[in-house]
Amino acid sequence: MNTEDRSMLAARIAGDIPEGAYVNLGIGMPTLVANHLGEGDKEVILHTENGVLGRWIDAPEGEQDPDLVNAGKVPIKLLPGAAIFHHADSFAMMRGGHLDICVLGAFQVACNGDLANWHTGDPDAIPAVGGAMDLAIGAKQTFVMMDHVDRDGRPKIVPQLTYPPTGLGCVTRIYTNYGTFETCSDGNKVRALFVNPAVSREEIVRSTAVEVDFSGI
């Protein structure tokens, strides 16, 4: 995805987040969603696993404080109305299902909602999980934000994960540069909720390793 496509995708996700929602934006591409929130009157409350709930922006030059960072270790500046807490309280909030939406990147998503985003399975890789597994299962809805296909053009929406799972049955929606799709706990398909007008349905079908149900749009 180029920068413009990423920005459009982030805007599409932001548009689907209602006012008043409590949202965790995962490290990497999902952080772009923040740029499209907080515009106009819609207030969305962000959560970062390292202990803040509230609204914030990236800290401007000269206002950066190494003791006030988000989960990606980027300095932030809090807007009025935030709360700070320790790690056990922060993850209790996630694990307890209090967040409305979590937006995460993914290597693969199975059509039943299984998510792989923490480890490629490469035996030489240094393993690192961070909060990925807590985030995957912690929110009322988990949105995945990703390229529709991998670098080699292979589908990332699959019937069954081939990468090691991060969480089972946790993803509710998949946002890609090709469209927006709902997972389906009991079937072998995803349901399209939105199709990028620049992409043909044939292209989507070809690039998705499970059936795509377009009947809802």
């Binding site: 509230g54 109305g81 935030a82 709360a83 209790a92 909030m93």
Partner: protein, 220 residues
């Protein structure tokens, strides 16, 4: 703009439905949300309730009044027997109220577990006593534990000191007690507060209950 403040007391307590489990803050009088309790008594749908609260009320005020109004089927609490708790005692002796007696710390931890997504936990408290009878036990590293489960709560009624429009709360001294864990445990949390301030007036480092745990609040 998010604003969780309301002034409609009866609408607020109408969120309690028949058969609900309602957690009510307070340790004795400290932290007891008496205005919400009084309003709840006037709510016709609120009956057959299970209430979760540390004490069973005194005289004919607060929780005692709720019991007297015949709203409560069962009470989950640690210390129902206090000075002047005659309303509870009378109902209990007549067999008109069910009591689940829970050690106070297990009650607090079971509420936290409910809010924290913990499915169950092994606690040493109560092991070998009548209050652990029939419960699963396990020895871990030489200590005996009882397996306790979360207390699921439909609505929490709590009392706090200060709120901002996001529902961030602080408490006043020992009136804090069960408020924070009940707010975590409940699907819907209703707070009565003494003061409302502009967003940004509460120090983020001193917020005790972040707004995510509060659905609506009302100024007393």
């Amino acid at each position: 703009m998010i604003d969780k403040q309301t002034s409609d007391l009866l609408e607020v307590v109408s969120r309690v439905n028949e058969g609900d489990t309602v957690a009510i803050g307070g340790f004795g009088g400290a932290g007891s949300p008496n205005m919400l309790i009084d309003a709840l008594i006037k709510n016709k749908n609120a009956k057959n309730l299970v209430i979760v609260t540390n004490n069973a009320g005194q005289k004919e005020e607060g929780i005692a009044a709720l019991l007297k109004a015949g709203k409560v089927r069962k009470i989950i609490c640690s210390f129902p027997r206090m000075k002047d708790s005659w309303v509870f005692e009378d109902l209990y002796r007549k067999g008109e109220i069910e009591l689940e007696l829970v050690p106070q710390g297990n009650m607090a931890e079971r509420l936290r577990a409910s809010g924290a997504g913990i499915g169950a936990f092994f606690t040493p408290t109560g092991y070998g006593t009548a209050l652990a009878e029939g419960k699963e036990t396990r020895e871990i590293d030489g200590v005996n534990y009882v397996l306790e489960y979360p207390i699921r709560v439909d609505v929490a009624l709590i009392k706090a000191a200060v709120a901002d429009r996001y529902g961030n709360l602080t408490y006043k001294k020992t009136a804090r007690n069960f408020g924070p864990v009940m707010a975590m445990a409940a699907k819907t949390t209703i707070a009565e507060v003494s003061e409302v301030v502009e967003a940004g007036q509460l120090d983020p480092e001193c917020v005790v209950t972040p707004g995510i745990y509060v659905n609506v609040f009302i100024k007393v």
